[in-house]
């Protein structure tokens, strides 16, 4: 167990509603440490429109970059010709000699490798793939040039459907491959014995849709070669500047010391900005070649048509249960449409590898088998979107649970309660060796059922008329901040280890925190300041977070996997704790006290009734060293520490979503009437930020459930190129969402906090689908695919009607 620091009244969180924690003693300052609902420091900047994004950066002599992209999904590129007179403004693959394509190999056996060219030279493998780059003083002029490039492509049949891509006779996507799959992973344990004598067996086919992540700010970069420093500086809208730096150096053949990546304010990531882009490699190569700053800003069409996608899964899943509702086993074959190339650094296989290991969710079972194939198709690569594979597996698993419940005549909450990991079993190792650190899952279920008032809603559901009602549940867990052992096991070419942070007291008593993760909506400028306050007693207003710059921060794999609150938070606490000891030594000398008697808090170091300000300690160290104790720590008031959790298996937050829906059976419309989320993020650093994460994620999950879908036609052409075609959830679609907190501390993390950043996005498709199916059950119809569009609902009703009439 980590040593937990003493916490003041008001900061203490227990397994009760942290949101309702008392506001603190009337005479003490308002809580600002761990557990405080501190308003976000960064919001002053953001809400006033004063954020500085890549698109705000303008450098002298900068040119704008636009691309000619492949108009076809699959083809042989015979030739590309620059427009007459534009030899120096348009660039083809041959102009980037020496620049390597992007390669992200999984370490798992059987992986088939792909190389994504920076500019295509002989073959194109998805619509939107880069063929030519054009520069001009304005984006419009660059687009004029790009569209004037003449290309000659012999089309090949497109792999547009992952369920057909491995058929005999399908064109093979990459040279040397044996079939169109990057990798297949499988897990099997005890299936045959477990299913003997099962009272209920349900077999289902489920699909989730391909999505675009649609952050408000798209990708973008400005690349500039500093000849003086002999350094390439890339400003990029990225979640992982250090990883981009490593990848960029590899592609360009530079030493990492010659590359600096700066992520300024970033307008949302969600996973979309966890990638090394061919566009930024190209911009960087051109900046090197031309000696001028080169800027590329992704527009919305590029985002929708050419940017990396996510989420497209297919499941053939069978659930087995005993008559009393005990879940005996799950048997599943899953496909993930991984697109044409393995994206750096997560690879084409993270998502599918995750499917096999996390499908069981929060349930115990006796037997399990799952295979998952990362299928290669003529679509853009995939990236892990908020929730990664969890959204899909939760959808598959929770629909199977409802199907089993219906088969056995049990209420959905009953079959769940029967099979959830019980609190007394914690810590619990599940059938795929996932280590559940803590939690009370049945309680979350009970509280969600009560809060939605499931029984009353069921009783009140209309039995006739065009508007039918249903209720649905989904319960799931979110592994966050998992480390070396887990990612090494998934084979991805970026395995996180220790996370570092540097804490530096400035001569005037302020604190600089340097972290290698990046904040792009998560509120880290605030939560990490709260952690500094917790450990160093410093006013969060005096804490400056330095992040997003490889030249100024420790190496980190970046912001993803719900890891920052735990990992960067733990690292900041460790660095501040070390710094606190050094502060105490100096303060003790100034106070003529024993270091052991010195406590720090509220910006002061105290010994008995005497105190000095942190600013006095800092001033002494930096500017009046004649007053320092003889044994002062020579490393000064700057401390770097590394951190990892007690076990690197990850924190397990979890949630139960409960939703009430109304289905208009004439139009197929689904309206969300009430939405309850009972979630457990362990100790919350800032409950208000946790709420924000959960709300935002839930809205994205509702998008997955009801709206978002990037469809492709048989030629591999994307069927949405604007937000008029690609439907995002809007305010009017979102019901009031009620969040109920539980707060079971994790024994693995510094303060008991758990990663919670993705949770909200995981549950909605499953909960809403179960509610829709509840509403449609009397009509004999059910949905099994995402999104649940009105057309899909009407088709399900029509099919049920046809069946009933037959």
């Amino acid at each position: 167990m980590p040593v937990r620091p003493p916490q003041r009244e008001g900061d203490v969180l227990s397994a009760s509603d942290a949101a309702d924690a008392p506001a603190g003693h009337p005479h003490s300052p308002p809580p600002r440490g761990v557990g405080a609902r501190l308003p976000r420091k960064e919001d002053d900047r953001f809400l006033a429109g004063k954020g500085r994004y890549v698109g705000d950066i303008r450098l002298a002599g900068m040119v704008e970059l636009a691309f000619l992209r492949s108009p076809v999904a699959h083809g042989i590129l015979r030739a590309a010709h620059k427009p007459v007179g534009a030899q120096d403004a348009v660039f083809l693959a041959e102009d980037l000699a020496g620049v390597h394509g992007i390669r992200a190999d999984s370490g798992l056996p059987g992986f088939q490798s792909s190389v994504q060219p920076i500019l295509a030279s002989d073959r194109v493998r998805h619509v939107g793939e880069l063929i030519a780059a054009a520069i001009a003083d304005t984006r419009a002029a660059a687009e004029d040039l790009a569209e004037a490039v003449a290309i000659d492509i012999d089309p090949l049949p497109a792999l547009h459907d992952m369920t057909r891509a491995r058929d005999a006779g399908a064109p093979i996507l990459h040279e040397g491959w044996t079939e169109n799959a990057f990798l297949e992973t499988r897990i099997e344990t005890g299936l045959e014995a477990a299913i003997e004598g099962a009272a209920a067996v349900v077999k289902r086919t489920y699909r989730t849709a391909r999505q675009c992540m649609a952050p408000i700010e798209g990708r973008g970069c400005v690349a500039v070669w500093d000849g003086n420093l002999e350094m390439l500086i890339l400003y990029s809208a990225t979640q992982m500047p250090h990883i981009v730096r490593s990848g960029l150096a590899e592609c360009l053949g530079l030493e990492e010391g010659q590359v600096r990546v700066v992520a300024p304010d970033v307008g949302g990531g969600f996973g979309y900005k966890g990638i090394l882009l061919a566009e930024e490699v190209c911009a960087s190569a051109l900046a090197l070649k031309l000696g001028r700053p080169v800027r590329w800003l992704e527009d919305r069409r590029e985002h929708l048509v050419a940017g990396a996608n996510c989420r497209e899964h297919a499941y053939e899943i069978t659930g087995y249960a005993a008559a009393d509702g005990e879940l005996l086993a799950v048997d599943c074959a899953a496909l993930v449409d991984s697109g044409a190339y393995s994206a750096y650094p997560f690879s084409a296989c993270l998502e599918a590898a995750q499917v096999t290991s996390i499908l069981p969710g929060p349930y115990t079972m006796r037997g399990y088998r799952c295979s998952a194939v990362s299928v290669a198709t003529n679509k853009p690569p995939i990236l892990p979107y908020r929730g990664v594979a969890r959204t899909g597996v939760c959808f598959a698993m929770e629909l199977v649970m409802d199907a089993l419940a219906a088969e056995l005549g049990l209420p959905p909450e009953a079959i769940r309660a029967r099979n959830l990991v019980p609190p007394e079993a914690m810590p619990f190792t599940n059938i795929t060796n996932k280590y559940f650190d803590s939690g009370d899952y049945p309680q979350a279920l009970r509280r969600a059922v009560e809060a939605l008032d499931l029984d009353s809603l069921r009783a009140a559901a209309p039995k006739e008329g065009p508007k039918r009602r249903g209720v649905g549940l989904a319960i799931f867990c979110e592994q966050g901040a998992h480390g070396t052992s887990v990612y090494h096991g998934w084979g991805i070419p970026m395995v996180p280890g220790f996370e570092q942070a540097t804490a530096r007291l400035t001569p005037d008593g302020g604190l600089e925190l340097r972290v290698g993760v990046h904040s792009h909506g998560q509120g880290l400028e605030t939560t990490l300041a709260q952690i500094a306050h917790e450990t160093l007693g410093i006013d969060p207003a005096r804490v400056k977070l330095v992040h997003g710059d490889t030249a100024l921060t420790p190496y980190s794999t970046g912001t993803w996997g719900s890891r920052c609150g735990v990992m960067a938070g733990g690292a900041v606490a460790a660095a501040c704790t070390t710094l606190a000891e050094r502060v105490k030594r100096i303060a003790a000398h100034l106070l003529q006290a024993d270091p052991a008697d010195v406590e720090i808090g509220d910006g002061l170091a105290r010994a008995g009734s005497a105190s000095v300000r942190l600013a006095d300690v800092a001033y002494t160290f930096y500017r009046a060293p004649q007053n320092l104790p003889a044994d002062v720590d020579r490393r000064g008031l700057e401390a770097s520490e590394g951190y990892r959790t007690v076990k690197d298996t990850g924190t397990f937050s979890y949630a139960c979503h409960a939703v009430s829906v109304e289905v208009d059976i004439e139009t197929g419309d689904i309206a969300l009437l009430d939405y309850v989320i009972v979630e457990d993020a362990g100790t919350m650093i800032n409950p208000m930020i946790v709420d924000g994460q959960v709300y935002g994620g839930a809205v994205q999950g509702i998008g997955t459930a009801l709206f978002e879908e990037m469809r492709y036609d048989g030629a591999g052409q994307p069927l949405a190129s604007t937000l008029a075609d690609y439907h995002l959830p809007v305010a009017a679609d979102i019901p009031p969402i009620r969040i109920i907190h539980m707060a079971t501390p994790s024994p693995l993390s510094r303060f008991g906090q758990k990663g919670i950043g993705e949770s909200g996005a995981i549950g909605p498709p499953a909960a809403i689908a179960n509610a829709v199916n509840d509403a449609l059950r009397p009509l004999g119809a059910r949905v099994a695919s995402l999104p649940m569009t009105p057309e899909a609902v009407r088709a399900a009703l029509a099919a049920a009607g046809a069946e009933a009439g037959a």
């Binding site: 919305r300 604007t722 569009t789």
Partner: protein, 271 residues
């Protein structure tokens, strides 16, 4: 997503705009630019020139002839929604305007621009056809008046000649006690409709009209409006007969008509 180069010609008057339009076959009119703008940016539309007619005084004229009102085509949806443009109906135009797209679109999009663009799913296309309004078109040979239900000829196609523009919409004043129902099915707030229907019940004026919109082309005025409104004709059969061969699955249009009929009935109950 930047437009291909084009010339920009702000018109100084209606006559100036008409001259410019007649002189340049490659020019397009632009008012609110809410439909054309995205098409320009996607390079789906590549006019050589844009003639900007936003705010022309002649397109903001209002003429009351007693039985009908002519409303200039240049009013924005927001002006109609907010009551800053006249609504000769019993508030029906204001309500319809308020349901067009999003407020940002309504702030700039214009009545005439939306009609001339002739998106089959657009609100004014079905509403004006349903009201039995007339469109006033002006070209080099002067003005002509075309019934709104005969204006759209296909998706994004109208009877407008190359030199013509819509200058006004002429709407008959309904009788006191007339009723109206407009119902459209959109997947999300602000979206173009997937099905729409209007019901005008003004027996005192001899106008009982039921119309269907969002059909992928011109709206359809159903044959027996009075029969539908008075409950003598089954909406399901009427819609299916009218749309046979035009729409593969008319279910949503059946729903739209039923709900528009119900809305008109409820309007009566509310009075």
């Amino acid at each position: 997503m930047k437009p291909a180069p084009f010339a920009y010609r702000p018109a100084t008057s209606l006559a100036d705009a008409q001259r410019a339009l007649a002189a340049d076959a490659d020019a397009k009119l632009s008012a609110g630019n809410q439909s054309l703008g995205p098409m320009l940016n996607l390079r789906l539309a590549r006019p050589g020139a844009l003639i900007d007619i936003a705010g022309l005084a002649e397109l903001r004229a209002v003429t009351d002839s007693g039985g009908a009102v002519r409303i200039g085509a240049g009013f924005t949806h927001a002006e109609i929604e907010d009551g800053e443009a006249p609504d000769p109906t019993l508030g029906w135009l204001r309500a319809a305007a308020g349901a067009i797209a999003h407020r940002a679109v309504r702030n700039r999009g214009t009545l005439g621009g939306s009609l001339a663009h002739a998106d089959p799913a657009a609100d004014w296309v079905i509403v004006m056809a349903g009201l039995g309004a007339n469109l006033v078109l002006a070209g080099t040979n002067g003005e002509r008046v075309v019934p709104a239900d005969a204006f759209v000829t296909g998706p994004f196609e109208t009877v407008l000649r190359a030199d013509e523009m819509i200058v006004a919409v002429e709407i008959a004043k309904p009788s006191p006690g007339a009723r109206w129902g407009y119902w459209k099915y959109t997947r999300q707030v602000g979206e173009f409709a997937k099905a729409s229907a209007t019901v005008l019940d003004d027996p005192a004026a001899g106008r009982q009209r039921c119309a269907l919109g969002a059909l992928g082309g011109a709206p359809v005025v159903l044959a027996d409006g009075a029969g539908l409104i008075e409950g003598r004709v089954d909406p399901d059969g009427a819609v299916r007969a009218a749309l046979a061969g035009r729409v593969a699955d008319p279910q949503l249009h059946v729903v739209a008509l039923r709900r528009a009929l119900a809305a008109a009935k409820q309007a009566e109950a509310a009075q």
